[in-house]
Amino acid sequence: MRAFLKLLFRNRLAGMGAVFLAVIVVLALLTPLLPLHPPNEINTANRYLRPLAEGHWLGTDHLGRDLLSRILWGTRLSLAVGFAAALIAAVIGAAIGITAGYAGGRTDNVTMRGVDMLMAFPYILLALAIVAVLGPGLMNALIAVAAVNIPFFARNIRGVTVGIAHKEFVDAARLSGMGHARILFSEVLPNVVPVIVIAMSTTLGWMILETAGLSFLGLGSQPPQADLGSMLGEARSALISAPHTSLVPGAMILLIVMSINLLGDGVRDALDPRLRSGALSRPAAATLVERKQVPAPSSEGLLRIEDLETQFQVGRRDYRAVNGVSLSLEPGECVGLIGESGSGKSVTALSVMGLVASPPGVITGGAVRLDGDDLIGAPYARLRALRGNRVAYIFQDPLSTLHPLYRIGEQLAEAIRVHHPVGRNEAKRRAVQLLVDVRIPNPAQRIRAYPHELSGGMRQRVGIAMALANDPDIIIADEPTTALDVTVQAQILKLLDDLRRSRGLAILFITHDFGVVAQLCDRVAVMYAGRIVEEGPTAEVLEAPAHPYTKRLIACVPELGGGRRRLEAIPGLPPAVDDLPPGCAFAPRCDKAAEACRSGEVALQGQDRRRVRCLFPEPTTEAAQ
């Protein structure tokens, strides 16, 4: 709750709205206690007194009634009616929405079609029709305004409920023996309430305005009772001669509606979790760079990542996702980067081309050299020219790189034409050839398919074709087969392996599967808590792991053909990267940990191709025999 208020008041406009509204509400609440004239006390001798007249601060109206008193009583009434209408609309709308969304099927269908029909009517016409049937009066105006807003609530809340009703925790509740009514109240409703609050806070202002509108037309509050709309209506005839009689209620309506809407938007933004991570703030085109020093270039290579450091700065915390990673890649080589979730594999990969979202990501150190040129901090135009052209990415979810609304052929052709000025037909011819290269059967027809018409494996092939579109030198593949079935995975791995051999591609392959690394990669680097803890030729690392973490991680993974057995688990969890222990990050889980491991930095040591970050590495030589 405190976090919510803090967030709300960080938005200045919302804070202003909240303050105004609070003052108005307090005044409205205190009205009966204030020393005011009775609001309906007629004194025709004092008609149309100007503001600041004696005894009447805001003047009087056409019957000599005190405007200050009337505006306060009127505000009180309008607020009460508006709140009541919003509450009624929210309760009934939510009830309809939740029931329809949870029941699904025919109930949902029929209810929502009915709601759609109501929504098809112009809003105010519907309200007028309802008042016409019920007769004028404040109560009826309230009912009409509530009624026309019910569909809005029902629609919104149904949408959210459908999402929640399909969550696994609802199934779990059914298996715990809860009935439908109980599930609705104790599982679904609490998750829908924030949406109801948001919908209410964003519509309350309009509802007050609509009620005022009906009163203005004489269909709402009846004389002599004052509400803001009827005050405006009565003042209409004296608009020129006594403008203050209209200005006072007009200004009040403006103030109320504006402050409620500002506050409502603020509430919506504060409650919407997507805004909390800063996801909707526009990310920079390339990752922010704040380097203190640039490491001196070491020996040449196609791609060299040197001492790369990438952090996420969220609030006052620094998540050190990548903490001094060095890797190199030669033409035609496939290097595996393996590690558990959160170890920093993806962030390493994305940092290469400045693709880490900023904010919150910042590259705080190191260099990435492509043919000796540093890419970190390179101008955006240069990065863009290289992205896809010399360095291409393949992601776990190919849909993240494919546009759902364009045919795959068009997208491939587009990708080619971004970097190469070729004609439409030439681009199309190349697109077909790419599909042939990634072994998609029937490519001439398949280029006309939309992404959703393809199976997961086919889509990933198209993802690879996209990556190959401009004949890159390097492909960075971030878990490209994790979401695929094993038989399809085998096909994709084979394809990547063939491609790199036939085209001399260098591949940086990110995975958490030792089997995949063993089959595809020449060398492998193992990551733990943002650092490389071991590196070497794949066969050597897998047969004789030197780092205790690598050794135990390999032992955790069951192997086909091993039969029934107990697995060697590693107790505990990887450390949080915003609070790394001093010394070796694996020490809390390592059974060889000694005092020295916990006190100082442990360096990555060894000959150039075989390195390990451990003070007491496993004896590799005997194990290898």
């Binding site: 715990s176 599967d513 069951p558 192997e559 039969g563 688990a569």
Partner: protein, 315 residues
Amino acid sequence: MSPAVQTHGLACRFEFGRRLFGPPRALLHALHPTDLAVAPGETLGIVGESGCGKSTLARMLVGLQPPSEGFIEIEGAALNRADPAEFGRRIQYVFQDPVSSLNPRKTIREILEAPLRYLHGMGRAARRARIDEIFGAVRLRPEFLTRYPHEFSGGQAQRIGIARALAASARILVLDEPVSALDVSVQAQVLNLLADLKAEWGLTYLFISHDLAVVEAVSDRIAVLYFGSVVEQGPAERVFAAPRHPYTRLLADSAPQVGRKLGGGAAGELPDPLDPPPGCAFAGRCPLATERCRAERPLLRPVEGDQFAACHHPL
């Protein structure tokens, strides 16, 4: 002794293109009539690729999905009405995504109390004692009970999911990809916990996964599903070591393994479920396919000992 779980011709069809009135436009057979039996104390592993009907089978077994045909017998009692509350006391479900199976707005204690209250009508003191017992069994600290789900890692959340299943006092658990969402080091922790619980409490497991090595490591028997049918069934140590169905062999050969060359797997994809082939569903990808395979659907039959395969030309 009667089997812990037995299915009799259990099948599930989904209707596609439902209209407000009238028959649907198409039928999708998620699961063809299936007979399975699991002995008390046994672990039956179920493997298959995405869309082969694993989760549909699992959801029917716990009453979350009404079968279109056939029925389920649990500990000798036929349950032919899809009522999760009735199933819940005998058979429970552990979900694939541990975090989304816990209501974000409830404390762990509230989540664990639900089955005790609604399935067993336990009083406050009895619930407290039982929760303490179960929470200890899944190796979690009691102070976690007052926290909310988002405060837990995947592995911890999955322990809580297991604790909830145990709280219902069911002796049969359907584990639907219980470790797929977890990291390998945590995966091993949870698998070992499951093995301990099974020994301590005498549980029966139906263990569903797409990871062959994991299934092999935990199961007594394994059933292989392809396109909504069981195509092979047999003792865990034989199914992948000596597969009899060509699909099982393809699966076993495709699993990435240390010390084996890239196989590449056979080309080809699953058939279109809305327009299934008349004969064997695997014929399009099978190196041994003959005319007979394309015309006639093979039935599951014994090949050798207690190994079964649905194939006209078993290996």
